[in-house]
Amino acid sequence: MKLEALFGKTLEELKVITERFGLPGFTAKQMAEWLYKKDVRSIMDMTNISLKNRSIISEQFEIGRVAPVKVQTSIDGTKKYLFTATGGRYIEAAYIPEAKRATLCVSSQVGCKMGCLFCMTGQQGFQSHLTSGEIINQIQSLPEFALITNVVYMGMGEPFDNIEEVLKSLEILTSDYGYAWSPKRITVSSIGIIPGLKEFLTRSKCHLAISLHSPFDEERLKLMPVQHVYPINEVIKVIRDFEFGLQRRVSFEYIMFKEINDTSAHVKKLATLLNGLHCRINLIRFHPIPHTPLEGSDDATIKRFQEELEEKDIITTIRASRGLDIFAACGLLSTKELVKNNQVE
């Protein structure tokens, strides 16, 4: 019989399990501490739970942690880790160390359904959702786990298309029973699936990033098919209507495409679209992928675009490209070849 993973279960879910076995109520809290604070690798190592009860739990459950199966290291220090997921599939996570911080970019799905023209993950189609445990496993099973200062949900997949598992993972990362991280250490990035966005805004306090890429509907539609279903105007209306407070941040991701979305007209339209919204724009260099007809804007154009946006009082940063040589940079994560070959070198 296949054992079910405990790792990734919320406290409420652990309580359901203990109730099912007729165990004391506090056992769920004990299990959560072993899972998320003490890095336990076997149920039998949960030594403050009676041996009898550990044996009962072990008949149907396992911890469910997996170590990365492969790592690639960039010349700039970025590391790309490969993890296994359910069904013999694979996902990638990118560890990005900087002088004063270290960011881990995690995946939320195997593949992606969104089909954005510029994204490598989209090229492999959709294979499956990740569980909460598979998402958190990318964090806790990382050799550099203790060094991580920030986590961004910007790896493979669309987080709001897998909203319940993503929210469970956020709860575990930020709850006292879990990792007790500040929500300010976590950013979830989405192309703007509105039902998921609403759930995320009300049930989490983590930062939000929205993939914008063009303020013009027709143009965005050609880059991002999701515009058909959830137009950016409606996404921004949801954000405007929500009270973010002073601590929670909203940012917009904007990949710069040569002679497509890098003109002064785009600056003007962006200023109109985001008028009055307390936010920032992150400009991202485009990293070309196979089959793409798109080219990236040059550095001078990106700098000029940034200056024009700042003249409109929009805080604008240019994101550094990291891990390009190992295909770990923005938009390049993919396990497409492994989907076909089902193997790791």
Partner: protein, 132 residues
């Protein structure tokens, strides 16, 4: 959808997607044809099984030879035997100035879009709608 004056339409319907007559999927194309906007348009419809070519009689009546059915698991007279992608790849000419509307699963849309782009269709002439 109505902003374009000419379409080269492609639709792929997965067997696992069970469309009802009032659901999306083929329905937008059906509405378009029923409203008289089917002239000079081509609809390429992919499916695994013949029974999944919903509204095929109506499409055939209006579009005639411009309604092409690609069936990957079953064969019958008048059907292209194979996947929709095979049919597209086999076409000798794809007009670069026309509009291409893709509708289906992410896998199909991305695969067809890559084929079209490799055949010099500007991405600005391609629209995609993905089931998710």
């Amino acid at each position: 959808m109505c902003s374009y004056t000419f379409y080269f339409l492609v639709l792929f319907e997965r067997e696992t997607l069970k469309f009802r007559t009032d659901s999306t999927g083929i329905a937008p194309f059906y509405s378009m044809v029923r409203s008289g906007q089917g002239m000079n348009k081509t609809l390429i419809h992919g499916s695994r099984k013949i029974e999944s070519f919903y509204y095929q009689e109506d499409f055939l009546q209006v579009l005639g030879d411009n309604y092409i059915r690609c069936c990957s698991l079953e064969t019958a007279e008048g059907l292209f035997a194979g996947r929709l992608t095979q049919y597209i790849k086999a076409l000798e000419f794809l007009p670069p100035t026309q509009k291409y509307y893709l509708c289906g699963s992410a896998e199909m849309v991305v695969e067809i879009r890559n084929i079209l782009i490799s055949r010099n269709i500007p991405f600005t002439n391609i629209r995609a709608e993905i089931y998710f």
